[in-house]
């Protein structure tokens, strides 16, 4: 699972790409919320340049202020950054930044055509500064939770939050009074809007935090489930097999059998498509899965290792069932007469025919001598293939091993001329 995770698109040869970089606000070396510092780190430029850009944009109709606010809301804090210890000097720079933000906010308001009526602008700026204080405090709070900081700064945090809420409240009330004094039916509606907006602004940081926490928790739960699944699988199969192997140390054949069976099972679990993800688990088996299953059965029954290589594939239809059975017989023969040697099964599915080779490196035999005990091979392999319109060839050299070649044509029921025997 870990091996293929990084190759989700394109050619598999592409070297592992680094994970997509995320834009974080960086609380390390921040002035206000770390937006400029985070952007600078992300883009690889000097933070001063980013700050100047924001100021210029703020002067140009206040767009910079709006952009800064958006980044603040949508870019998460870098959870790995180190926060500077708060000190007086920092607070001073922050006040300065707040001041410039306030000026920018006024410019934005005038750009929006609300004018600079003191009755409206001053309360709005108050609300703005209050909101900024609240959001910044929320950042500090969440960082504190990550670091499990002690409660020494709790008090000042609460004081700052109270100041923020107070500013927003006072601003809202001032706007409210202005609106009510304006009179008319619109006054009531205006009041409701102001109250709702004030509440949203004050509680905003906590809503955002709750949403983020929910996502984080869900991801953690998914990871936990995956981990539990892997652990359960390792426990059920691998540990179980290892225990069995230790109990059978005296029996090498049994150990081989257990190890091979476990290897097969683990490979299947790691590399096969999962059920329900488009795998062909329930439909008719294909030639390759059928042959792999047959090889597995023989490995289990006889304690041998069979290397299966299949080129091409197609569904295992009625015509190919005898081929599979003959291949099984050939494997059983190889396992019986060439124990302890490598057995290869190679199958090639072509448009016109399916060919299977079963090869062992056992003692071999002289086919002309027709040993009586090889009748099984004759009957069950050669006989079965010819009866069903295919053909079988057995090659064996004493001292080198035996190879059984099975061919099943797909187009007609006639026995084809053996095109490959010339090799």
């Amino acid at each position: 699972m870990t091996t293929t995770g990084n190759a989700t698109a394109g050619v598999p040869v592409a070297s592992g790409e680094p994970p997509a970089r995320r834009l974080y606000r960086n609380s390390e070396g921040r002035v206000l919320a770390g937006v400029a510092r985070g952007l600078a780190d992300h883009l690889g430029v000097d933070p001063v340049a980013v700050r100047v850009a924001f100021v210029v944009m703020a002067a140009a109709g206040g767009a910079g202020v709006a952009a800064y606010g958006m980044f603040w809301v949508f870019a998460p804090q870098n959870p790995f950054g180190q926060a500077r210890p708060a000190d007086r000097e920092r607070d001073l720079t922050m006040a300065l930044a707040l001041g410039s933000l306030a000026v920018g906010g006024l410019l934005l308001l005038s750009a929006l055509g609300l004018g600079l009526r003191p009755g409206l602008a001053v309360p709005l700026v108050a609300v703005g500064v209050g909101v900024v204080i609240l959001w910044r405090q929320a950042d500090d709070d969440s960082r504190m939770r990550w670091r499990q900081a002690t409660g020494t700064s709790r008090l000042s945090g609460a004081a700052r939050a109270a100041a923020g809420i107070g500013l927003v409240g006072i601003g809202a009330i001032a706007i409210l009074f202005g609106a009510v004094r304006g009179g008319g039916t619109s006054g009531g509606i205006m009041a409701a809007v102001v109250v709702v907006a004030g509440l949203a602004l004050v509680s905003g940081p906590w809503w955002v935090r709750m949403a983020r926490d929910l996502t984080a928790e869900r991801n953690a739960r998914i990871r936990e489930q995956e981990r539990a699944e892997v652990a359960a699988h390792v426990h059920d199969s691998v540990l179980h097999t290892l225990a069995l192997i230790q109990r059978h140390v005296a029996d090498p054949r049994e150990v081989t059998r257990l190890a091979r069976a476990q290897e097969r099972e683990l490979r299947g679990w790691l590399y096969r498509p999962r059920p329900g993800t488009g795998g062909d688990g329930t439909s008719t088996p294909s030639v390759s899965t059928a042959l792999e299953r047959v090889a597995a059965e023989v490995e289990d029954a006889h304690g041998v290792a069979v290397e299966v290589v299949v080129v091409g594939d197609r569904p295992l239809d009625d015509r190919l069932v005898p081929l599979r059975d003959a291949a099984r017989e050939a494997l059983v023969n190889a396992a019986k007469y060439a124990p302890g040697t490598a057995i290869s099964l190679y199958a090639e599915v072509e448009p016109g025919q399916v060919t299977v080779f079963v090869r062992d490196r056992g003692p071999g035999f002289d086919p002309d001598a027709v040993p009586a005990d090889r009748l099984g091979l004759r009957q069950s392999v050669v006989g079965r293939m010819t009866r069903h319109g295919g053909s079988a060839v057995v090659r064996s050299v004493i001292g080198e091993g035996t190879e059984v070649q099975l061919e099943m044509p797909l187009d007609s029921r006639q026995t084809p001329r053996d095109t490959r025997s010339s090799q």
């Binding site: 091996t3 598999p12 070297s15 190679y346 090639e348 002309d368 060839v393 057995v394 090799q423």
Partner: protein, 236 residues
């Protein structure tokens, strides 16, 4: 029915003269694998046939050790901490052209196999390989030839078999020639290079040439089908 059982061509052939080794002295090898037990086992299996000059257990260490020792052959595990065998190949294939890489892995996943070959490895064998076979493979890679396991041969046939066209010219990077196909088929059937040569009436040297040509095609081809095949086979 008896006529179906006949002796194959193998027995009738005369023995090929043994191929003289093209290199004198033991091959210098670096082992890269994150399992110490496995490195110890391989070292013991290789015995005196090769000279193990260094070991590494992650990609970064591997790059350092290989750069320092300049071995003939690197036995490279596909799955390594620090970016895997691919990271080692990416860092060194261009800069150390004399060092050859033989990938060694428990993984049979096609994307792993094809990826390290395309990354510059001159062969791929599974960890179940026997000691003498591994020694042979190391020598072969040291001599500049390619080493294909049956499974790798199967993958290549599968990847290039999407069309039935056959290359007329050997230089065609996108197709296999008839002869290359025959050689790969026999390797996939479990034949050794020597047995392949015997079956096709060619010398072991010629078999090696064909396999190296296939390796080159596998590394250089941008063939659409190769990509598509690998993508379709990317399981999990």
């Amino acid at each position: 029915m008896t006529d179906q059982v006949h002796q194959g061509g193998d027995a009738a052939q005369t023995e090929q003269p043994p191929v003289a080794p093209r290199r004198s002295g033991p091959v210098r090898v670096v082992l890269v694998d994150d399992h110490r037990m496995f490195r110890t086992g391989v070292r013991a299996e290789l015995g005196t046939a090769v000279d193990v000059v260094g070991e590494a257990e992650d990609a970064e260490q591997a790059v350092a050790v290989i750069t320092a020792t300049r071995p003939d052959v690197v036995l490279l595990d596909v799955h390594l901490p620090g970016g895997g065998g691919r990271a080692v190949l990416a860092a060194l294939v261009g800069t150390l052209p004399d060092v050859r890489f033989l990938a060694l892995s428990v993984s049979d996943a096609p994307e792993d196999v094809i990826a390290v070959i395309r990354g510059g490895a001159r062969g791929y064998v599974t960890k179940s390989i026997t000691g003498p076979e591994l020694t042979m493979a190391v020598r072969r890679v040291a001599d500049g030839d390619a080493v294909f396991s049956p499974r790798l041969a199967g993958f290549v046939l599968d990847a290039f078999a999407a069309t039935t066209e056959v290359a007329d010219v050997d230089e065609d990077l996108d197709r296999l020639s008839q002869r290359e196909r025959e050689v790969l088929r026999l390797i996939a059937r479990g034949y050794t290079y020597k047995e392949v040569g015997k079956a096709l009436f060619i010398s072991v040297k010629t078999v090696e040439t064909h396999v190296s040509a296939v390796l080159r095609k596998l590394q250089l081809s941008n063939r659409h089908e190769l990509t598509r095949w690998a993508t379709a086979r990317r399981l999990v």
